[in-house]
Amino acid sequence: MTSDAHQIISQVYKAKNDSHAADELITAYMPFIKSETAKFLNRPPDQSDDELSIAMFAFYEAIKNYSKLRGSFLKFAALQIKNRLIDNYRKEKRNKGQISLDVSDDEKTDLKDTIRDEHDDYEENEIREATKQEIEELSAQMNDFGVSMTDVAENSPRQRRTLEICKKAVAYARNNPDILEDFLRTKRVPLAKLAEGADVERKSLERHRRYLVAVLLICTNGYEIMRGHIMQVLKGGEKV
């Protein structure tokens, strides 16, 4: 019993910094996640239920936030799952007065089928595929820099002030192609040049080095869609 507990804890601590290990742990404990979801739904969850996805996400959160001081991991994870599901239930309850487009007016047609669709599904699929390719390329390029998307998500600035500093640095790099070339050639973020050119503290940039790798790579040629998506940040940086 104690050896099992120690094994879980070691797995959890390993999964904290390794996304693949986290995925494996989630897969391994899928029956536990389903049982906790079933307790909440009072029925066994389907694979298509959003509640199950939310429960899995809560389990991942539990992995990230767990420490030995919090006691048993599974109890902690169960509490996290329960809280997340309750939060989601309350959020959904707020929108309960609204009619879902999936509800059928009569048995033959859904409501969403009655609305005129201005979107071109074919074009959308094409854009999604193009975006997917860009992201895959970006991920591959980021691997060369030793950075994963999960790392970037964890290293992303959360405070507005820090985000503004990073915007300034990225805008300065975008206006100076030499810096981007050096960055691609050396595979190192030119923190000193960015800090000096953008007139920001180097320490702030150092803390978000992995995030800067991702954004600077997006700013190089070849990532039109993603660059278009984050154009606002670049504009904002240029304004400053």
Binding site: E61, K132, E134, L138, A153, P157, H229, I230, G236
Partner: protein, 371 residues
Amino acid sequence: MKYIVMECHEGYAVLMDEESRFVNAANLHYEVGQSVTDPIIMNEEHTARRITFTAGKLIAAAACLVIFASAGSIYYSRNLKPHSTVLISSDANIKLEVNKKGKVLHIVSDSEIGKEILKEYNGKGKDKLTVANEIIELEKEKGIISDGDTVDVYISSDNSNDYRSIKSDLEKGITDVNVEVHGIDSLKKPAKPTEGVKKPDPPKPDAEKKPEINNTDKNNTPKKPDQAAVTPPAPAEPPAPAVQQPKDNGKAEPAVPPAPPVNNNDPEPPKAPDKQGEAQKPEAPGEPEKPALPNEDEPPQPEHEIHEKLSADTDISERISFSDMNPVMLLPEHKQEEEPLMAAEPPKAEPPAADLPSPEAGIPPQPPVLP
């Protein structure tokens, strides 16, 4: 805000928002490249939990401090704070400070004998009864106390219950010597008589002073004639202080007859008495009989009457003299007050006597009535 799904995992997805922020969110069957709105983003509990954790630590530390402080204060009040004092009254005069539990905290003595005893003995931390017995034994050894003597023990305590318990303990516990236990009030009693002796002292002078005044008042009658007789020169200058005379006159009248100037004031105008007083001296002998009478009628009553009369006369004379001296006094307000006095002054009969003819002259001559 729109998000692009950057990466999908079993339990979560990495999304990028329009501000180039990367976030972890619940993977609600997303696909990479899909753009989504309103995802379930991972709670930023790291910072929040750190804050709450540090706040919790601070609160716990504060609670610990409060607990330790209260425990310390309780310990101090029970063990280290002197709650009552026991004084073994003898030549040694040893004082014990006792805590709430009855343990001796300090042993002190002001006397040399007591200090000598305490040099050899340390009873700190022992029970009060044990210490009291041991001190009495030491005093016996030194010859300060002998068997069968009665020792006074004085107790001072904040609490009456403590006082009673200590009293009963000492009365029962000390067997070698007769013990008389007193409260702190009884400790003060021996001092009271001294204070009582001292206290009457201040009133004495008051009492002495008062009788002096009374004596002077009362003895004035018998004594002052002598004093007046001893100092006759005062009346020798009667004219100048017309005001002072009456006082002196009341006392010195018997010796000096010239007092009459007081009487002379009534009939005569202000400045006249100086000269007239001298001039009237030979004429006065008939009048000084008034002051002479009181001497004959020894009882003080007539004297008071005379004094009153004289004082009234002197007041009048003063008023007259002031009004004469200060023209301000002649202002209409004062005139009203002085009018009766002036009206009471008949002496101006002389001028009217001179003026009589003039009104008569003013009146048209009446024809003689013939019979």
